[in-house]
């Protein structure tokens, strides 16, 4: 089967939706983090696919490398926050981390 741009776009859209579902349903902070990573990687896949099969040049792939580095940095900050949360609440379930009144 010949793999076209559309295939990549559909795959990226599926990843995007999976990421959103993960974000919405996971109660564990690490799971939420995974959902964000999934969305970022869906976007990465789009960038690379457009760069390879679309009308773009190589910029899309360069951008992807930047995004991968940024995602790593983001994970570091997130894990630090999750650690602080755990120190205080002894849990990483996001719905139990709530002291504020609404």
């Amino acid at each position: 089967m010949h793999v076209t741009l559309l295939h990549y776009l559909v795959l990226a859209a599926v990843l995007f939706v999976l990421g959103l579902v993960t974000l919405a349903t996971r109660r564990n902070a690490i799971g939420v983090l995974l959902g964000i990573e999934l969305i970022l990687n869906a976007a990465n896949l789009n960038l690379v696919a457009f760069s390879r099969h679309g009308i773009g040049g190589v910029e899309g792939q360069v951008f992807t490398v930047f995004v991968i580095a940024l995602a790593a940095a983001e994970t570091v900050v997130a894990l630090a926050i999750v650690l602080a949360i755990f120190h205080h609440y002894r849990t990483v379930e996001v719905d139990r981390v709530s002291q504020m009144k609404n």
């Binding site: 970022l40 990465n44 773009g56 926050i81 949360i85 205080h88 996001v94 981390v97």
Partner: protein, 601 residues
């Protein structure tokens, strides 16, 4: 060398971060007074702001050779950079004596603040989407950590987690939208995308799917960043839970940077008034967001009992007025409404002042900022109460203060954009301001007319006597904020002029006239002179893209000379009567040259 000089504000801001980090290490671990780090941070950011204001407005785009497609420096960027840097400096000063009281490590805090300001500068000054995304992440990552920096507090860590999750989601949405824009136009720089979309707008409907999806994703992402309804729900919790100097920074600098990029991105990519020919036009979406944000922000603000939460909803409501301003583009130039930068300036000054007062009331780790704690403030701390009065009245839009001039100019400009139909929305906005008056005056009621309740036992401290921090740097910061609010209200002329010139530079103009008048003639750079009949759309898009890039590139590049000569010749040929290729529909979009000297930018 030129590039380095023009980057100086960004380099100074980054250097401040590095310097503060080094000074923190050198000054010893248990030094009780590390307040000087905050003063150093504030000084560094202030120097960067001065550099931005002096270097950037006069710098024409072609002066940069190496960073040409990476950064734009102009009056718009200078205005918002100075605003961001000044807010960062104020937050650093507010933090000097706040941090020891709250048990927060000052070295890391001030370093992160400086780096966040650096990221915000790159975010605002970005000429392409890679730089924009990098800047956004550098700014946001530092603020996530800052929001959670009070590690002993459940509130602060909760705020950090919430801000991270929703901010990370917003960044991911932004990236997804950027990927679609890249797919639609094959370009990552703003001018190139604008040129590509303008070329594609005239062709078949399938070409509009990617820009349309991208628009929705970009608006969601930027809506999160500027706290627009329905993407606002993190705002009250995060503003309440974060250390108050950080809240001041988020409400001031992050929101200002967000609005700068929102308006530049949307107005540039989907050039008004055609808006890229999308079914759901950016104008409708912006108007919907604006009205929703105003109404929801103000209505929910009424029922709050915590000063920080009230100010959070106030900042949401102000985002609504600002979105209305972004929506109503200037009718003559189709540039940003010239009331928007001034409004942001007045809003930021007042918000920083108000949060500054709140931060000074948080001695000894106090986090509870419910309204009754303000009772009797005018007797205990008359100066703090006066600053609060000025800033809150400015936020409410009461005449002698900056907020009034901001609202007046903004609504006037919105009306001027389309006097007949915009009057409804201006009336809605004014009615909203009246609703907002209720919660603003409630703050002042407690500060001036309520006596602390007499409560027995341990609750004495909690009931009224909110202990104030004695801090000269913080007093300087809130004093400047209050004086700025007064100055903007009484003598707005100078800043109005700056706002006008900033707004006129907001939209990056792609050089479309050549690309659309002679699509065939642009091709020799990459392919045969005539577009291949099999794929006219693609080659025209490619041609338009090349044109956008050419316009944005250094005029002395040797390898382009041949192509350019060809194009010039072809262009003059095509200008002769009879040989002109058919123009795409609706040529009037590009017929009017922008008046503000923004052409080719």
């Amino acid at each position: 060398m030129n590039d380095l000089l023009l980057c100086a504000p960004i380099l100074v801001a980054a250097g401040t971060g590095i310097l503060v980090m080094a000074l923190d290490l050198l000054s010893g671990r248990d030094d009780p007074r590390k307040g000087f780090l905050g003063v150093v941070t504030a000084a560094g950011l202030a120097i960067a702001a001065v550099l931005a204001v002096t270097l950037w407005p006069g710098a024409p785009a072609f002066e940069m050779s190496f960073l040409k497609g990476v950064l734009i420096v102009d009056g718009f960027v200078a205005f918002f950079s100075a605003l961001v840097l000044a807010t960062g400096a104020a937050a650093a000063l507010l933090a000097v004596d706040h941090l020891p009281e709250q048990g927060i490590e000052p070295g890391a805090f001030q370093t992160l603040l400086a780096f966040s300001a650096t990221g915000a500068l790159a975010f605002v000054a970005a000429a392409d989407l890679v730089t924009m995304f990098l800047g956004l992440e550098v700014m946001s990552l530092a603020v996530y950590a800052l929001a959670a920096s009070k590690r002993s507090s459940g509130f602060a860590t909760e705020a950090g987690l919430k801000y991270f999750v929703l901010g990370g989601l917003a960044s991911a949405f932004l990236l997804f939208g950027v990927a679609f824009l890249y797919g639609a136009t094959g370009s990552l720089d703003l001018a190139g995308i604008a040129a590509g979309l303008a070329g594609g707008a005239s062709s078949a409907g399938a070409d509009r799917v990617l820009p349309q999806v991208a628009l929705v994703l970009l608006l969601v992402a930027m809506g999160f960043k500027v706290a627009a309804v329905p993407f606002h729900f993190w705002t009250p919790d995060v503003y309440e839970g974060a250390p108050t100097p950080v809240t001041a920074y988020m409400a001031g600098a992050v929101k200002a940077a967000g609005f700068a990029v929102l308006s530049r991105l949307i107005l540039t990519v989907y050039q008004a008034p055609s808006w890229g020919g999308l079914p759901l036009s950016p104008a409708d979406a912006l108007l919907g967001l604006a009205v929703l944000t105003m109404v929801v922000g103000n209505v929910l603000g009424v029922v709050q009992d915590d000063v920080k939460r009230i100010l959070a909803y106030s900042s949401i409501a102000h985002a609504g007025y600002l979105l209305l301003g972004v929506w109503a583009t200037d009718p003559a130039t189709r540039a940003l409404n010239d009331g928007v930068p001034f409004y942001l300036l007045a809003y930021v000054a007042a918000t920083v002042g108000a949060f500054g007062v709140v931060s000074l009331l948080g001695a000894r780790g106090e986090e509870d900022m419910r309204l009754p704690r303000l009772a009797g403030l005018s007797k205990r701390h008359p100066v703090l109460a006066a600053v609060l009065l000025v800033c809150v009245l400015s936020l409410a839009g009461i005449p002698p203060f900056g907020g009034f001039m901001g609202k007046f100019n903004l609504f006037k400009a919105v009306l001027a954009a389309d006097p007949a139909s915009n009057v409804t929305w201006v009336v809605v906005a004014v009615l909203n301001s009246l609703v907002a008056l209720y919660y603003y005056l409630r703050i002042l009621l407690y500060a001036y007319f309520r006596e602390p309740e007499v409560v027995s036992g341990d609750d004495v401290a909690a009931a009224g006597h909110a202990p104030a921090i004695r801090s000269a740097p913080a007093w300087a910061a809130i004093g400047v904020a209050a004086l700025a609010s007064l100055y903007l209200g009484i003598l707005p002329g100078r800043m109005m002029a700056a706002s006008g010139s900033a707004a006129s530079a907001a939209v990056v103009r792609p050089d479309l006239s050549a690309a659309l008048a002679a699509p065939a003639a642009l091709a020799p750079g990459k392919s045969s002179p005539a577009p291949a009949p099999a794929s006219p759309t693609v080659s025209r898009r490619a041609a338009v893209r090349d044109a956008g890039r050419d316009a944005a590139r250094d005029a002395t590049r040797n390898d382009r000379d041949a192509a350019r000569n060809d194009r010039d010749a072809a262009h003059s040929r095509s200008a002769a009567p009879g040989t002109r290729p058919p123009r795409p529909p609706r040529p009037s979009r590009f017929a009017a040259p922008p008046a503000g000297g923004g052409s080719g930018r």
